[in-house]
Symmetry: C2
C-alpha cells in the first residue's frame, strides 16, 4: 500500500470533503472516538488542514452538524393525517444523510451536541405544535412528547439497531407511530 499523491484541490472542495467525512465519523463513532486524524484520513487530507479550516474539534462539529429539519408549515399540515405525514417526513430526513444520527450520538456525551439538539427542537418542532394545537401554552410539552417518540424510534433503529426495529418497513413505522404523534399534537390533555 503506497500513498498515491493527489493533485491540489480548491479550498471549498477540500472543506466539503472534510465535512462529509466528519458527519460519517461523528454518526458512526460519537464525539470522542471520531478523531480528527481519522476524519482527515477519510477525506484524504492532512490532519492539520482540519485545524486550519475549522479551528478546533468543536468548530468542526458545529460546522458538520448544521441542520434544517425542513418541516412543512403548520398551514400545510391541516389534513387529517398530520401524525403520519410528520413521521414519514422524519424518516425521510433521518435516512437522507447522517447529520441526525451524528447529532443523536454526539448529543449524548457532548454538551454542544445536546444544545444543538435542543435548539432544533425549540426552533423547528415547537412552532409546529403551536400551529396545530388548541392552547399555544401547551406547545412545548406536546412537542416534547412528539420528540420523545421520534427520537426513541431513531435510537432503536439507527443507533442501537435493535433487529425488530430495523426490520420494520417505512409503511409499518408510519402506521404505528403516526396515530401516536397525532394524539400528542391534537388530543385533549389526559
Amino acid at each position: 500500500m503506497t500513498d498515491v499523491p493527489r493533485p491540489p484541490r480548491r479550498s471549498d472542495t477540500t472543506k466539503a470533503a472534510i465535512l462529509e467525512a466528519a458527519r460519517e465519523r461523528f454518526a458512526a463513532d460519537g464525539y470522542e472516538r471520531a478523531t480528527i486524524r481519522a476524519i482527515a484520513h477519510d477525506a484524504d487530507i492532512d490532519p492539520s488542514m482540519v485545524m486550519r479550516y475549522f479551528g478546533n474539534k468543536e468548530g468542526l462539529f458545529a460546522a458538520a452538524s448544521e441542520f434544517d429539519l425542513r418541516l412543512p408549515e403548520p398551514a400545510q399540515l391541516g389534513g387529517e393525517d398530520v401524525g403520519g405525514v410528520l413521521v414519514g417526513h422524519f424518516l425521510d430526513r433521518w435516512e437522507a444523510d447522517e447529520v441526525l444520527t451524528a447529532l443523536l450520538r454526539v448529543g449524548v456525551t457532548n454538551a454542544a451536541g445536546a444544545e444543538r439538539m435542543a435548539a432544533i427542537f425549540r426552533e423547528q418542532l415547537v412552532p409546529i405544535a403551536a400551529g396545530l394545537g388548541h392552547d399555544p401554552a401547551e406547545a412545548p410539552r406536546r412537542a416534547a412528547l412528539v420528540a420523545s417518540q421520534i427520537l426513541g424510534m431513531a435510537m432503536a433503529r439507527y443507533v442501537l439497531r435493535l433487529p425488530a426495529a430495523v426490520e420494520m418497513d417505512r409503511e409499518e413505522v408510519v402506521g404505528w407511530l403516526g396515530p401516536t404523534v397525532q394524539r400528542y399534537l391534537t388530543a385533549e390533555r389526559p
Copy 2:
C-alpha cells in the same frame, strides 16, 4: 487539601464503592469520558485497584451495568391499564438508580453497551409482549415499539434534559405514554 489516610477496607466493600462510582460516572459522562482515574478518585481508592478487581475497563462496565428490569409477570398485568402500569414501572426503575441512564449513554458509543441494552430488550421486554399480545410472532415488533417510546422519553428527560420533558410530572407522563404503550401491545396491527 491534604490527603487524609483511610483505614483499609474489606474487599467487597471496596468493590461496591467502585461499582457505585462507576455507575455514576458512566451515567454522567458516557464510556470514553468516564475514566478509570476519575472513578477511582470518587471511590477513594487507587486506580490500580480497579484494574485488579475488574481486569480492564470493559470488565468494569460489564459489572457496573448488570441489570434486572424487574418487570411484573404478564399474568399480573392482566388489568385494563397495562400501558400505564408499565410506563409507571419504567419511570420508577429509571429514577431508582443510574444504571439505565448509564446503559443508554454508553450504548450509544460502545458496542458492549449496545449489546447489553439489546439483551435486556430481548430477554426482559419481549416476553412481556409475548404474554399479552394475540400473536406471539409479533412480540418482538411490539416490544420494539414499546422500547422506542420508553427509550425516547428517557433520552428527552434524563439524557438531553429537554426542559419541557423534564418539567412533566410522573402522572402526566403516565397519562400520555400509557395509552401509547397499551396500543402498541394490544391493538390490532394498523
